[in-house]
Symmetry: C2
Subunit: 407 residues, 2 copies
């Protein structure tokens, strides 16, 4: 294995590159500081943003958050520290000793020896006033700042964790990850409106397409996954999907994320349902294990009246398709067995006048066709479902919908 | 923690759903069959596609591949099996006993008791003749079939593995994954050509935009990551990126993948370089550990003359930016420290007449600004680099470039 050996050697060389390894020995994230087991006066450095300041006669309490967890780290300083710039929102670097906290509200706190304000904050001008408990709707106006609130912080951490869980689930189960294309020339499959794509310099000369043909933003990776399931048996994709629907409802986005899987040699819908179920369970268990406080915040403050509803309400019809509908959220999963028989498919395509354009799709049934099927899961709807978030615009970092494309 | 408790209960309910758990006890992937430790005559079922058939007087040898590994499973049958439909490319289900192979070429083989042809293959019409060793350029004409060749199979398995490794690397290092938007109204940052996006029903009425403003496909998630680094300290994104460059070179795609990271509180370029290095090393080590045969195939057959070149050739300039250039591939990494000072940035934006449009970007420097920086890694270029693949179109499942958007 000469090639791999060379690559390994190159990596070793890479690690001895002439840059001093910057090892900030005592630099800790807030999450790691909060979880520290030994608090025997270890000297550490923590960086983050001030969430609150409370000044008593001889003591100054700061809460510092760096986004690594919902909880902030309590910093205790003596009142000799100049606190004028230590206001809400300013960024700070605190050095000191991690000690056991006398309070029951936290296990550890940071006894400050040095506090440096890195960036001031014009707190009066900051449009989101935490104490006024702004609504999700209100903070939606500030897509560049709302991520600094507790609730959006929690939602986006859960989103990140769920993303990692989905990748792990498929990898652990032998699926190959396929990056299905965003730009596609398939235009006939979607029922809804499509987005068309053109080079901005050519958009005024419609007869000349950048790709020679009209090109669109994908509405589903299914056909591309079907290609790949004929080589890898089990494949998935997880990426952005688009609908140019003229809807500002709380259920629709123009750009949203879908998890799609395609499996060869499936024998029945049950095979698909099992994978859907296991995906849902594995992802949710990982989120619950790793972000319990974030999930709890959402359940408490976002949907106080909303009890967790039945997640397993399945609607099975007597056809080769299954949908999982969740009350208040809509269709979460949709799956079906695909037509694998050449002649049936050929006839159907011919009837729609698509025989020629989809010869490649027919080819898949000409060269070792297999029974196969797949499903899609709307990722934002999944997040709404487990977190109880009412509006889909609040579970995606930068929502895009008709009349709105902020930032 | 009532909410989470309810959710857990719902999951338990979910697992007792009234569907029989389909446990195909003896169904094995080819990879698992090849790796089986115990071969004491265990009865198993393997499904896949016939890669080769060799018929001897009393024995029939089949090689069956299901895409789970480069290597195929050898199936041994007695010549009483009807082999007329057992041709290259047909899909089969084989039941039998997994036994130790007498040959040194493989550890185990499957002694067939039953072979079922699931889908025939019109082998003469199949446009890729394996024995003729078709070139990568030739098979590029068949994006729906080339994934069934050894070489594309290996490349796409490595791509999948590298993707998983990148997600793991960032998660293990405390980065939050942000899905930066594909559609954006920022149009001024890119030097190159942009793709514009419009609802296909509105494309003929340019005065009416779906999003009210002209919208484009992203050329970088940097600005959106800068927003998020002000909340989560360490963030990354990994997704499709677009350039409407009129280039058919072996180095450019209209749709390609980028890994981008943004880090708050960085002190110098070294901090960024360290992360880039560790990302490269961790990802490559994971690929080498988990897909050694796939990497080896690429090194042997794709770039026989090409020795692994120096990967660590760094070009450091005396400015706050770093690029990593790889011979034959181009820029692999690009990173820089960002301007975090309000007044400097304001002046620069005002000079370009962008002061108002980018007030949100200025805001990030008004409310607790921090020194920060980030980098991007071209994912296809990374794959080219570790696999020695010359043309970027061969390391992405469905390449898009000027004049071409197949499937």
């Amino acid at each position: 294995m000469l090639g791999a050996w060379c690559l390994r050697r190159a990596l070793r060389f890479c690690s001895s590159a002439p840059f001093p390894r910057h090892k900030p020995k005592a630099k800790l994230s807030v999450r790691d500081a909060l979880g520290a087991q030994s608090t025997s006066g270890e000297r550490v450095k923590v960086q983050g943003w001030v969430r609150s300041v409370r000044s008593q006669k001889e003591v100054l309490f700061l809460h510092v958050n760096d986004g690594s967890s919902l909880e902030s780290l309590q910093v205790v300083a003596d009142s000799s520290f100049d606190s004028r710039e230590l206001v809400f929102g300013s960024s700070v670097e605190v050095q000191g000793q991690l000690v056991k906290s006398p309070s029951k509200r936290q296990n550890v706190e940071l006894k400050a020896e040095k506090i440096e304000v890195i960036g001031k904050c014009d707190a009066k001008a900051f449009p989101i006033k935490y104490k006024e408990r702004p609504t999700l709707e209100y903070i939606r106006q500030y897509p560049h700042l709302r991520c600094r609130t507790n609730v959006l912080g929690s939602i986006l951490r859960v989103r990140s964790e769920a993303t990692a869980a989905i990748h792990s689930f498929f990898r652990d189960n032998g699926f190959v990850n396929i990056h299905t294309p965003v730009i596609t020339s398939n235009d006939c499959e979607g029922a809804g409106e499509l987005f068309q794509v053109e080079s901005s310099s050519k958009i005024k000369e419609p007869e000349e397409n950048f790709f020679n043909v009209p090109a669109f933003l994908t509405v589903s990776g299914q056909l591309h996954l079907e290609v790949m399931s004929g080589a890898f048996t089990q494949v998935f994709t997880f990426g952005p999907t688009f609908r140019a629907e003229n809807s500002q409802s709380r259920r629709h986005l123009a750009e949203f994320y879908m998890v799609e899987a395609e499996i060869s040699f499936v024998e029945s819908l049950q095979d698909l349902i099992q994978v859907m179920e296991e995906l849902f369970k594995a992802t949710t268990m990982m989120v619950l294990s790793n972000c319990p406080e974030d999930v709890e915040l959402c359940h408490k403050f976002i949907a106080p009246g909303q009890k967790i509803r039945t997640y397993a309400k399945k609607q099975l019809f007597n056809v080769a398709a299954v949908d999982l509908l969740v009350p208040g959220v809509g269709e979460l999963f949709g799956g079906s067995l695909r037509e694998e028989r050449y002649h049936f498919l050929e006839e159907r395509l011919a009837r729609s006048g698509l025989r020629e354009v989809y010869q490649w799709y027919l080819d898949l049934r000409r060269f070792g066709s297999v029974p196969h099927g797949g499903f899609g899961m709307g990722f934002e709807r999944y997040l709404q479902c487990i977190l109880g978030v009412d509006n889909i615009k609040d579970v995606i970092p930068f929502p895009r919908f008709t009349h709105s494309c902020l930032l």
